[in-house]
Symmetry: D3
Subunit: 304 residues, 6 copies
Amino acid sequence: MFRHTDYLQFDVKPEKPDPVYAHKLQELIGGAYGEMTVTMQYLMQGWNCRMKGKYKDLIMDIATEEMGHVEMIATMIARLLEGAPATDSTKNAAGDPVVAAVLGGMDPQQAIVSGGGAMLANSNGVPWNGSYIVASGNLLADFRSNAAGESQGRLQTARLFHMTDDPGVKDMLRFNLARDTYHQNLWLAAIEELKADGLEDTIAPDDLLDEEHTEHATSLWHLSDGPDADKGRWAHGTAPDGKHEMGFLADPQPLGDKQSGPPPDPKLYATYDGALGEPSKPAFGTEKGVMGKIKDAVDPDPTG
Amino acid sequence: MFRHTDYLQFDVKPEKPDPVYAHKLQELIGGAYGEMTVTMQYLMQGWNCRMKGKYKDLIMDIATEEMGHVEMIATMIARLLEGAPATDSTKNAAGDPVVAAVLGGMDPQQAIVSGGGAMLANSNGVPWNGSYIVASGNLLADFRSNAAGESQGRLQTARLFHMTDDPGVKDMLRFNLARDTYHQNLWLAAIEELKADGLEDTIAPDDLLDEEHTEHATSLWHLSDGPDADKGRWAHGTAPDGKHEMGFLADPQPLGDKQSGPPPDPKLYATYDGALGEPSKPAFGTEKGVMGKIKDAVDPDPTG
Amino acid sequence: MFRHTDYLQFDVKPEKPDPVYAHKLQELIGGAYGEMTVTMQYLMQGWNCRMKGKYKDLIMDIATEEMGHVEMIATMIARLLEGAPATDSTKNAAGDPVVAAVLGGMDPQQAIVSGGGAMLANSNGVPWNGSYIVASGNLLADFRSNAAGESQGRLQTARLFHMTDDPGVKDMLRFNLARDTYHQNLWLAAIEELKADGLEDTIAPDDLLDEEHTEHATSLWHLSDGPDADKGRWAHGTAPDGKHEMGFLADPQPLGDKQSGPPPDPKLYATYDGALGEPSKPAFGTEKGVMGKIKDAVDPDPTG
Amino acid sequence: MFRHTDYLQFDVKPEKPDPVYAHKLQELIGGAYGEMTVTMQYLMQGWNCRMKGKYKDLIMDIATEEMGHVEMIATMIARLLEGAPATDSTKNAAGDPVVAAVLGGMDPQQAIVSGGGAMLANSNGVPWNGSYIVASGNLLADFRSNAAGESQGRLQTARLFHMTDDPGVKDMLRFNLARDTYHQNLWLAAIEELKADGLEDTIAPDDLLDEEHTEHATSLWHLSDGPDADKGRWAHGTAPDGKHEMGFLADPQPLGDKQSGPPPDPKLYATYDGALGEPSKPAFGTEKGVMGKIKDAVDPDPTG
Amino acid sequence: MFRHTDYLQFDVKPEKPDPVYAHKLQELIGGAYGEMTVTMQYLMQGWNCRMKGKYKDLIMDIATEEMGHVEMIATMIARLLEGAPATDSTKNAAGDPVVAAVLGGMDPQQAIVSGGGAMLANSNGVPWNGSYIVASGNLLADFRSNAAGESQGRLQTARLFHMTDDPGVKDMLRFNLARDTYHQNLWLAAIEELKADGLEDTIAPDDLLDEEHTEHATSLWHLSDGPDADKGRWAHGTAPDGKHEMGFLADPQPLGDKQSGPPPDPKLYATYDGALGEPSKPAFGTEKGVMGKIKDAVDPDPTG
Amino acid sequence: MFRHTDYLQFDVKPEKPDPVYAHKLQELIGGAYGEMTVTMQYLMQGWNCRMKGKYKDLIMDIATEEMGHVEMIATMIARLLEGAPATDSTKNAAGDPVVAAVLGGMDPQQAIVSGGGAMLANSNGVPWNGSYIVASGNLLADFRSNAAGESQGRLQTARLFHMTDDPGVKDMLRFNLARDTYHQNLWLAAIEELKADGLEDTIAPDDLLDEEHTEHATSLWHLSDGPDADKGRWAHGTAPDGKHEMGFLADPQPLGDKQSGPPPDPKLYATYDGALGEPSKPAFGTEKGVMGKIKDAVDPDPTG
């Protein structure tokens, strides 16, 4: 359960309106690496965490913090839109390139749909969606996604930091940059801790190594003609997981058969000349189609 | 430019058809962490790489490999669908729970739309889309995304490995698991190399640390009541970046003003009682709206 | 079955082209509250109406009218795009801010994709989609959605009315505003009529009131610190449904247990330290997993 | 800024797992009328509210409550998935229709992607997205959308109430039904209060009535042949807004000209035979295209 | 403007309910090649047609017909859902595989969201969207898209024809198949007529042939190792346009330079080692960045 | 399996940067008819082709070529973005309309998200998605889709050709136009060859003609009042398939019953007054609901 205070986590005080920048700032609220994403990613990870204690508590702390960041960006956008020329027509651009830039660079939906407020969309107006988040239950995989997400998010914030010279906007972004720095450190530390606690190892997930074809777990397949791919650490020496020697496969050859589909079912009307053999006829009666085959596998002697 | 051979990278030979599994396997081709995602993510990163040499060459090698994995999964799905009861009606389930499971668990579009082949969609039928990928130009941020993506991908493959007992399917997955293991090691090694080469440091991007509000770059804001959030390494000691001491803010308070938007423009019809002051009137003429303010900032003395 | 005449429902005669406005007007054709939405929402509601007579007939009348509105907006957009500088390059902006505004503010797809016509998308270019509509079969819920949709639609039309000074465009919008006024009145009247006819009461749906936990059906949970939430009619007196006294819960406390998931299935690789008890092992054989439990519930004595 | 407690708003205690129901329950978390929608709709409305006081405070109370409902449904789904046969293959259905139903009716992503937890998607696996919400700044329009949303949400909850016989699930739903009842009453009461406070009238927005073509604001256009459309209150008497007499237009005729686009720009390659006159030639030089026309409108005498 | 009659274009009378088939039939209403697509594709083409007369009139006839097909499929789905076990729980599958198939194979949203009616979505529940249609203004390109769309649509209908043995459903599909046959013939005939009328030639669009690099307009680049690609008519003889001789390029070589991006702007934080030269510095002042370069191109002597 | 060379298929050398054009060019990489679409459409068709030999080999050749076109457009976009004013603020537009046009017309995500590179999205920023492609297994239907796709793609390229005067951009487009010309010829030739080989006839699919209601396979239903619809070849003479005489139905009448749904299930809460008869009660026990009816159909005498 949540509680809310109207006071913002940090100051959100632009010195002057800037509707073009309000458009760009949408990326930080509704982009794939914006505040909505980290909020919902952490909430779902926290609720899906299968241990009591420090990891779950940590995730919920950060998730709750991020919701306050959505609030900050939404507020900043509304304030940057103050007095935006939402209701001026094209000809008002005559004689004034700044007006022209604003008319061209505004987000139409910030005026038409939300009446001067933020949208839940990115800087191109594409609505935020739930496929941006990941909460797999595996904390190593998820913390890597979190560290990656905070890296992309801080990168975008850093770029946006240079797209304005408004001291109030920059002041808020200095706070966001700092939190993103801490959050990167935090998830990197949490990855170390997972290993220290013996919960996860280096490869996610870590207990199928003996099932996999080990001979294919070690080398770079050289399939593009750039000549320097073998110059890096990934092609030599012990792997970061400490369990494999890494190498370079200079001229990899296909190991499989020729690509093809099975002969088609005539009732599906795939074009066919018989080249792959008899057409496939699924049957539930006397003929043996897929169900027959599955049933055979389950019960090899149906008459027994 | 690309070239293609019809021979598959590895064997793709299911022992028997299984349309329910063919449905689930869609996740590995068109899911957010499926083969299409890594293919396009690496291609775009490679094309967007701003250095000649080992990093670019590495990325293009892996990108080209992943395209062959899309091919393998698409082929596996087609082969698992051989003779699927695409054209049987509901009543055929009478007396046979396996048929019932198949009729319920098939992907309708694998029959109706693609005629017995894979779709470019996930295991719930949602089409793959370009927002799943990231190619930011910043190699540290991107390699973290790559390591995270390979972790999620291998995790999903591992789960799918347990959902079948078909030896042919399992054999292919043993290869995929192995490659995902190598790819995790590879991106982790590449992250180390970026630092060793002096190209990127621990925090992405790494040169705005002096701009940010450092006092907010260090501590966990405790906003959820789980009691153990301060038990982890993220709340104590030196941060992984070596530049911050990490701490715990047990009772964080809001640092900003009260959340509010500016007074509305009457022509946008936001409900208003004047509580925030005079309504905002944008103007291009005598009144000073946003454009006037921006112009003032640009040219403080328009009559000068 | 439908019939069509080429004559438009109302005049669509812009005085002059305006490609920036043509971009904004996309919101009224392909936005969440545009004409496509009301057309398809009413069609699906009408086809899904489970009564013969006035309600179904009403819905089909309005649905058929709205299709004509899609036609009007599509025509207006094409006419506003006449001679748009679709094929001019950036440098043509030199010396002319109006050209600059147009180059920046045009919808690229209106030229590249539709060759000077409307797209089936909103003012940010996001395609219209079927999740914008609702047709639940419950007329009270749906008529409320209709009244809400017409309110949002008229609001957007009113905002767009102020974004142009073209008398021909404004003339068409005066007609659209009028129809939206009537449609709001219409759905509000239809809601009254549903109650007068004894078909639906105030709460949708209205016959589960005796199933629900009544003690939680009456009061505002005060979870945000704004001090005036109890000043409104929603916190005092008889509810609009005439069946509840409304109140205010000043300090609501959680009524449930602590949030947690169940112990994980090891084959799903959720990180786990045993804190929630034994890992869950689904079984179809001797062990009792979920299926065993479900079967127990169905047939408590399988050997009986 | 937000705070969180791990204790749930209400009990979430299913008696037994039911993965098929866990699939259906996704609608309440990630469907167009699920808990994510009301959470984000109310948050954005609250942040975008342009008045201090009771309305803003009310919206934030409810928004904060709804976030706790997302948490409840996510937790219920995880608990219903305990021991789900995520890792069983198709042939396990042999001999057991309940297993068959579960294999067919499960959400594959709840196992493959989230490892036994909820997805941020609806019951068909389509991710939740930001276009489901509306926050227009106009409280009358938005409160109508809220009342409609709560009606659709309670309707779906009521349907889901009948799709299970698990007493623990039903107990939670009894709470959700009750809250949805209160929320419907609440928004209906708030609509009354807006009018009582003189902030909004019956038609949203309410101050353009004198601009619109009043003669078209009153009557039902009879465009479908159902004979009873004029039997309802919407075709007779005073409108709910008290400002119009409602009527019936039995044989509406088109009032506009014939539908057509303008002559095409040859560089856009629309097929053309000259039927609409000279092709349109945009020009920035001597010829007068759209820019010339716009410039004329702005400055009728460019040589003056 | 449109008019509607309640009578259906053709009989829609299933003999018995079949909720699994009702799920599959969604493809014909909301799939990429379903009735919504052809309806909206033809409407937008008709409204965007830049000639008076037979082509525009033809398109509008067919568009209006297709709307009636949406109505037919929506009605069929509702009738197939009569008495569907929407409100039964999983355990009801015990002992009855047909029930199991139905519980697994139903569309949950057809019950939860639409209350027993069709959704505006495909057979996997993905909402229909506006990007499925095309209306380019070029009739040759669009008529090809129409012929292709009708081909895919009829193919899907033919597959669905074999997935039921309900005589009433099959009767309706016999009508749909027939109309799709006519529509294929119709668009193929219209393509011939465009050429006969001298409006379009074989290649769309047909008047840039002299601009293109003709030497690359004739031969198949052999980039995959399948040995028979040169056995077809596309590698020999006169092209269908009558203007090119077609050939085969057995060993195509790249004609371009090495792939690379430009040196990055430091403020965008792309990882960089200087390998591509000096970082790019955009400037509006003394330095010459992109704007300076563009201005040079426009006005080579700014001081002149 | 694929291999890659860093050398581009053709020269990609813009003379100068142009960020507005870089925005528009997104349509050719991530639009519905851009290079991603043809790449993935052909790959999936090739992998799904059910014959060995020339058709499959052809498709794979072209698919592999198209991947190189994605690479070319992505490279061109990055080069056009060199030094783009990504990090300049709105006021820099003062005094310079070209800057204004650029600030308004840039794609914000090309700077914020990809750091000066292409996105996998169209010219309005909507991500490319898998529903743009089709691979049905039926080569006639698919080759028609391919010819249509190449027509739309070349049309868009032709429009973009006129939107720039950069000789380097135009040079690349001359190559793309030429390839699109060949590809149109190629798929048209392949359609002829399918018929010559006796694999497919004119109507897709071609073997259900005797099942369909032939009387409805021949005439244009005249449902819109444009008077010239019968003037074309589609209303007279032998159809292109050589098997039907085409005609004109001047006054088509509905052939079906009145549109209605079945009586609702009370537990789904559709508003109902009994007009359609007794409410539907699904049953698994003594009452006969849908399952009873289905079981009757399967086994008419369950006691026999």
